[in-house]
């Protein structure tokens, strides 16, 4: 069975309209999955279901064989799924970085010596070990969000869910977070589920799920998804900027083949054409 199994999950906030109308997908260990969709497509609701913050009104969510419907085991589920939210200002609990990272392991009842090791590990993983004794109020947005990620990593989760974690950051902060997440996925084998509305961020993932009106409408690799620009437009989404430029050039008769996801790839293809 897959690490994360979502089967026909439904959810409604007000009993009238459904935010999720039967969503099914799965993720294996080490996957890097991006979930994209316009506002109100249900992608944030999905993040809360995976972590057990919300329980589905229909269908099931299972992580490592543990169902989120079972309230008793909710704790076990949360231990395995770490969520990083949008605003780090509202997610940091303590006024010193190391105390904040310690909050999760303290809740789990981890022995004192091991908490120290976990703080070392988590702060190192996000490159914030120099700021161990600092006050989060004095850090930049990107640094704060890295501390928030460290706070989640200290729980040693198997799945890291990023719920629009870069939405409030400047481009520099966004880059910081993206490289940290990529490193975690590649080096530590952490399963990443990134919910985002930045297409260029989604292009970094190995797999993309497109949501619209509480349903999964597309799933595939970035190359497959971004080849279908017209279909994406129907769901209120746009192509990543390099892919958009490539498409416009193609319309003008420039022979660019395939889908171009990064600036570097686009530059390379154009250079080749000039030769």
């Amino acid at each position: 069975m897959a690490l994360l199994q979502v089967e026909n999950a439904r959810f409604s906030y007000d009993k009238k309209t459904e935010a999720l109308k039967g969503v099914s997908f799965s993720a294996e260990k080490g996957d890097y999955l991006a979930i994209i969709g316009h506002n109100g497509s249900g992608k944030s609701t999905l993040a809360r279901l995976i972590n057990g913050l919300l329980t589905p009104s229909g269908g099931t969510v299972t992580v490592d064989g543990i169902s989120s419907v079972d309230k008793e085991k909710c704790f076990q589920l949360r231990k395995r799924v770490g969520v990083v939210f949008q605003n780090p200002d509202n997610g940091i609990i303590a006024s010193i970085v190391e105390d904040d990272v310690a909050f999760g392991p303290e809740n789990l009842g981890v022995p004192r010596e091991e908490i120290g090791e976990r703080i070392d590990f988590a702060l190192k993983a996000v490159g914030m070990e120099e700021y161990r004794k600092s006050s989060p109020a004095r850090l930049s947005g990107g640094q704060k969000q890295r501390v928030a990620i460290a706070g989640v990593l200290a729980l040693k989760p198997e799945i890291l869910v990023l719920d629009e974690s870069t939405a409030m950051l400047d481009p520099k902060g966004r880059k910081e977070i993206l490289s940290v997440v990529k490193k975690l996925n590649e080096e530590q084998g952490v399963t990443v589920i990134a919910i985002t509305h930045y297409m260029e961020e989604a292009a970094e993932a190995r797999d993309i799920i497109v949501m619209s009106d509480g349903e999964i409408v597309m799933r595939g690799s970035p190359e497959e998804i971004f080849l279908k620009g017209a279909e994406l437009k129907k769901y209120g989404l746009e192509l990543p900027y390099p892919a958009y430029v490539a498409e416009k050039l193609k319309e003008k008769g420039v022979p660019i083949d395939g889908v171009v996801l990064t600036r570097e790839a686009l530059a390379e293809k154009l250079e080749k054409l000039c030769e």
């Binding site: 809360r48 972590n51 913050l53 704790f75 949360r78 231990k79 770490g82 969520v83 939210f85 605003n87 200002d89 509202n90 997610g91 940091i92 609990i93 303590a94 006024s95 010193i96 190391e98 105390d99 310690a102 909050f103 999760g104 392991p105 303290e106 809740n107 789990l108 009842g109 981890v110 022995p111 004192r112 908490i115 120290g116 703080i119 006050s135 109020a137 004095r138 928030a148 706070g151 989640v152 729980l155």
Partner: protein, 273 residues
């Protein structure tokens, strides 16, 4: 605005900074008791206060907190000091008037000086605690000191957590207030002119967005805590361990000496008079 921190912690590595927060809180309370023990008979209160003052000066030197910082904390409550001194001066009917038909008596003057010295000494002692102990340490120390209250079902852990979260959000909310004020100003709000009532009224468009956003923040914080497996104080471990060391012993001994001194001064001089 980020530098406005509650209690104005003054980071340094000193004898007093390294003391255990719990001991420091208890010593601060004991010190205040000592100040109150000084008898108010005009003949000999100076000596008791002099002893307390000497103690604060020595402690300040040991804490490496600059003296001007300490003076600033007194300046912050100067209005209160003057107010209580004036009350004593004008409303004390005991004693003999200082001049023929005057309403200020010698006893009133004594009492005013006494109250002033008492308040200033207390403020000096209390600010030394907040200068040398970070808000988190104070919250943790209080949690540990209040632990016995668990037996009467008082939620000690939750109380301490609420306190430290409140302290953590002070800079965040100050930033936000700043932002809202700027946003309202850019829409033509006027905070600087008009009488007191007008100015207070002008603050309403600042307070309401602040209140609403605080609720939103609280919601998000609760989610973040839940997501990090928070489930109350049950089965929780602590990373920071508090240790009582030789510094705490010395501090306690010095304070015990102060209290003994004050009591002796009260007694000996009392007998002498």
């Amino acid at each position: 605005m980020k530098d406005v921190s509650f209690g104005q912690y003054y980071p340094a590595r000193s004898f007093v900074h390294k003391m255990d927060a719990r001991v420091k809180i208890l010593l601060a309370i004991a010190y205040i008791v000592a100040v109150f023990l000084v008898k108010s008979e005009p003949e000999f209160y100076f000596l008791g206060f002099a002893a307390c003052f000497l103690f604060v000066v020595i402690a300040t030197v040991c804490s490496r907190v600059p003296f001007f910082k300490m003076l600033k904390s007194v300046k912050a409550i100067i209005f209160f000091v003057v107010f209580s001194a004036v009350l004593q001066l004008f409303f004390n009917k005991k004693g003999t008037p200082l001049w023929e038909g005057g309403f200020i008596t010698d006893a009133g003057l004594y009492n005013a000086a006494f109250i002033t010295a008492r308040i200033i000494l207390i403020v000096l002692g209390a600010s030394l605690l907040t200068f040398t102990t970070s808000p988190v340490e104070i919250a943790d120390g209080l949690e540990s000191l209040l632990t016995p209250l668990k037996f009467i079902k008082f939620p000690v852990h939750e109380f301490a957590l609420v306190m430290s979260i409140a302290l953590r959000f002070i800079p965040t909310l100050l930033d936000e207030t700043d932002r809202i004020i700027k946003a309202q100003k850019s829409r033509g709000a006027d905070f600087e002119t008009g009488n007191v009532f007008k100015r207070v009224k002008a603050l309403i468009p600042v307070l309401i967005p602040l209140l609403i956003s605080s609720f939103r923040r609280a919601d998000e914080l609760a989610d973040a805590m839940d997501a990090r497996c928070y489930s109350g104080s049950k089965n929780r471990t602590r990373y920071k361990k508090m240790k009582i060391g030789w510094r705490d012993l010395i501090g306690t001994l010095v304070l015990a000496a102060l209290i003994t001194g004050v009591v002796l001064l009260n007694g000996v001089l009392g007998v002498a008079v």
